[in-house]
Symmetry: C2
């Protein structure tokens, strides 16, 4: 190793950060465009805040000198204040709303697309920077504001290309279980949290597992014991009845829930809110298949105060592949109050863009678009570079993406380049063509198809299928014919 | 102050970071869409790298424990490696190209839109986070690659909406002045840099000022003395002749330059490159007005090695307002070599998106679009919320953005809200309308116009101009009539 080599940095991206290329970006942009159009049709205004927030404004986190990077990417500004890259789009919205409250038209409704950063251990498919899309309404306590957000999510996913039936919005209200527990005399915060944790495991452990966790506790297959919430038989029975109240359409669920929850003030409030959400959803055209009330939905974040919702994706393929939760949200009435001291009702929904793109790809819907390369004009004669550029310009003026090969390699590497760019066609103008006043155009898609199908590809090479020679004046029309056939 | 208040964080964005709202984002998105379409028509592939790079990969900067934030936002990862937010889009491209060199189709041509971060003192209009757009070709030494980039810039600005003639690409080649100085026997690096600095001041100080700075030095009006480059009379004369060679179309400038530069190997190389750039530009349809050769263009960055170019914006208004440089670029053959040790020719162009948006607004071209609000359905009767939601859904299904007012205020604040949202119309359905099976639609643009024009606005209020009442079944057509009139 020479001393020069030792000075060279190694070219590598930081751990957990992605380089995204054309195919990914095309899929993301299609999602952005489709969802933006839906959200704007509801009157939501786009907002982008800066990448940094002051750490105290982010809330969940106050850095100290020893561990400034706990969960977020934080650094100290030159005035000694700690700043951190946003870890979601909700905290910056709360800051923005509080900062501009007096001048905003209220309720304030905004949507945002943007990167968020999490300083966590990266892994396969687990990045430290990823794109989120959020829509929130700040300053409305009406349950109809929740319904609107849910309807937008339903319509946004459909506009992005999720097939009908692939996505279900599952809606619940924190007040139901709170009311039930209050009626059962459960007041202890630790006990309530243990109940929530047990409920949250219904999908994974089933009714028996949850029953055990609501009571004394549960021993898993490895023999490890998890202490339970310690509910009495009657209270545990109520919780299980509550968990079983879903299914059969929103109104049927509501009717069943009323039988279980009825009696506590908070439970009745939750029921009334769900009723209003249900009516607004129906009037917005959201069907019982698109959005259901599901009592087992918990949502982890502590800041939710009322309605909660999450989007579950499942494709009715051979085995009904379940992709799980793809986005979620709910009502968080206390986030803006951190700044202003005044309770400010808010509700919102958030989803990860890559996750939706993956679901779209899995559903075989849109987004399977391969990044199509431009037509490549080969550079075979240095004296003709001007002519090659003029040909590319003519093609572009006719709406056909085109480029001149800009390296200095021979014909074979140039054809390989065109193939790797996924070009639909190559324009070949060498000595023969120049002398004859013609252009040769090679159909690369046809060549690819033949190469894939024919075991002895010498045959099609000799026949030169998919290759036409046309007068120079007919360049555009001859290329267009091949490009349009390629699609 | 209660103890509760002292715990509350102040809602404020970090210094130098912007919250961008709808009007700004609409203008930026229009630029992004227009420029992307042009760049993709040239076969450039979109790429987005992560926000962070390892500090050693950023190059200009190696942090030490004492001053980790010099110029960039840097922090130490949990494996002790320093990372920094990218301060431009070129360094991440160089890292990406070096990291993926073997698997890329070469020459590799990509464009990128993205935020960059500079840890500098913020000021009015000077942010620490801003959007850049870059296009670069890596792996081509052909001067035609520079021409292509220049043509894309010309066409990109036009597609974004800059009026014809507002933008001139000024092109130069570092090799010309280098060759001239070599021929004049100037070898000292310090002396060469002093000449570059003097040349760079032509715009500000004029020929006399530059002449002084090429020689012994210059005393400014305050009496302060700047030491000159110390060139002899003959050499200084050559530099001045070189600086005066511009104007009259690209070929005329080239001819004049040949007379001044001729003789040195490096100068001849520069001339030959400019000649090829000029021919390709012509064949690409770039006129002598859109792109000129201008010997005084220097471009500050040290990494440029050949052709350099910058975009200058001037509007032929009353006094021919000059907005100055709006973007620039050039050939940088050594950036990728930092990683690989192999010289990798590259060229690119970069512009700031906000600056272009400001130029577009100043030019009165596009982008003057005000963010148009949705139609607002007033919430006048709590018992009718479902009906209001159904009306909004009908409007949206007909392609008209609409929302239901989601607060709990009375009619007057609701009308004020609709006005502040810049809504074209408000849908008013109270007790009278419900009883009659009608809807009332208020034309808010007309109301705004009248309020602006009529000193006694009591009159139009009583006449109720711009307000129609229609059968409920005609909601969509009645609203559409008003929305389309509003434009």
């Amino acid at each position: 190793m020479t001393s020069d080599e030792t000075l060279r940095p190694k070219a590598r991206a930081p751990r957990g950060f992605q380089d995204r290329r054309a195919a990914t970006l095309i899929a993301e942009r299609a999602i952005l465009d489709a969802v933006s159009a839906v959200y704007e049709s509801y009157g939501f205004e786009r907002l982008e805040t800066g990448a940094f927030e002051y750490a105290d404004a982010l809330g969940k986190f106050l850095p100290d000198a020893d561990r400034p990077n706990e969960g977020v990417f934080a650094l100290q500004d030159d005035d000694e204040q700690w700043m951190a890259l946003r870890y979601d789009l909700t905290a910056p919205l709360a800051r923005f709303a509080a900062e501009n409250w007096d001048s905003l038209a209220k309720p304030f409704r905004r949507y945002a697309f943007g990167s968020v950063w999490r300083n966590e251990k990266p892994g396969p498919g687990r990045y430290r920077e990823f794109l989120q899309c959020d829509a929130d309404t700040v300053g409305s306590e009406r349950p109809e504001a929740d319904a609107e957000i849910i309807a937008m999510a339903v319509q946004g996913y459909a506009a992005a290309g999720l097939p009908a039936g692939a996505c279900t919005l599952k809606i619940n209200n924190r007040k139901l279980l709170n009311g039930l527990l209050a009626a059962a005399g459960v007041e202890d915060t630790g006990q309530k949290l243990a109940v929530l944790r047990a409920v949250d495991k219904l999908d994974r452990l089933g009714v028996d597992g949850v029953t055990a966790l609501l009571g004394a506790g549960r021993k898993d297959e490895s023999g490890a014991f998890t202490k339970g919430a310690g509910l009495g038989t009657a209270a545990a029975g109520s919780v299980l009845a509550y968990l079983g109240a879903g299914g059969g359409g929103r109104q049927a669920t509501l009717d069943r829930l009323a039988g279980v929850i009825g009696g506590s003030a908070e439970g009745d409030e939750g029921l009334s809110e769900l009723g209003k959400i249900g009516e607004a959803l129906t009037r917005l055209g959201v069907t019982d298949e698109q959005a259901v009330f599901e009592p087992s939905v918990v949502r982890g974040l502590e800041y939710y105060t009322g309605a909660v919702f999450e989007a579950e994706i499942a494709f009715a393929g051979g085995e009904g592949e379940k992709l799980g939760s793809m986005g979620g949200g709910g009502r968080y009435d206390d986030l803006v109050a951190r700044f202003t001291g005044q309770r400010t009702p808010a509700t919102g929904f958030s989803f990860g863009v890559s996750r939706l793109a993956a679901a779209l790809a899995a559903g075989g819907a849109a987004a399977a678009k391969v990044a199509r390369g431009p037509v490549v004009v080969l550079a075979l004669d240095n004296g003709q570079m001007g002519e090659y550029f003029a040909m590319a310009a003519e093609l572009r003026a006719a709406g056909i993406a085109a480029e001149v090969y800009l390296g200095t390699s021979g014909m074979r590497p140039q054809m390989k380049y065109a193939d790797r760019r996924n070009a639909p066609a190559a324009v070949i103008v060498g000595g023969d063509e120049i002398a004859a006043g013609t252009v040769t155009i090679k159909d690369l898609d046809l060549g690819r198809a033949l190469a894939a199908d024919v075991s002895d590809n010498r045959a099609w090479r000799e026949d030169r299928p998919g290759q036409v020679t046309a007068p120079r004046a007919d360049l555009v029309s001859a290329v267009r014919k091949i490009v349009e056939a390629a699609g």
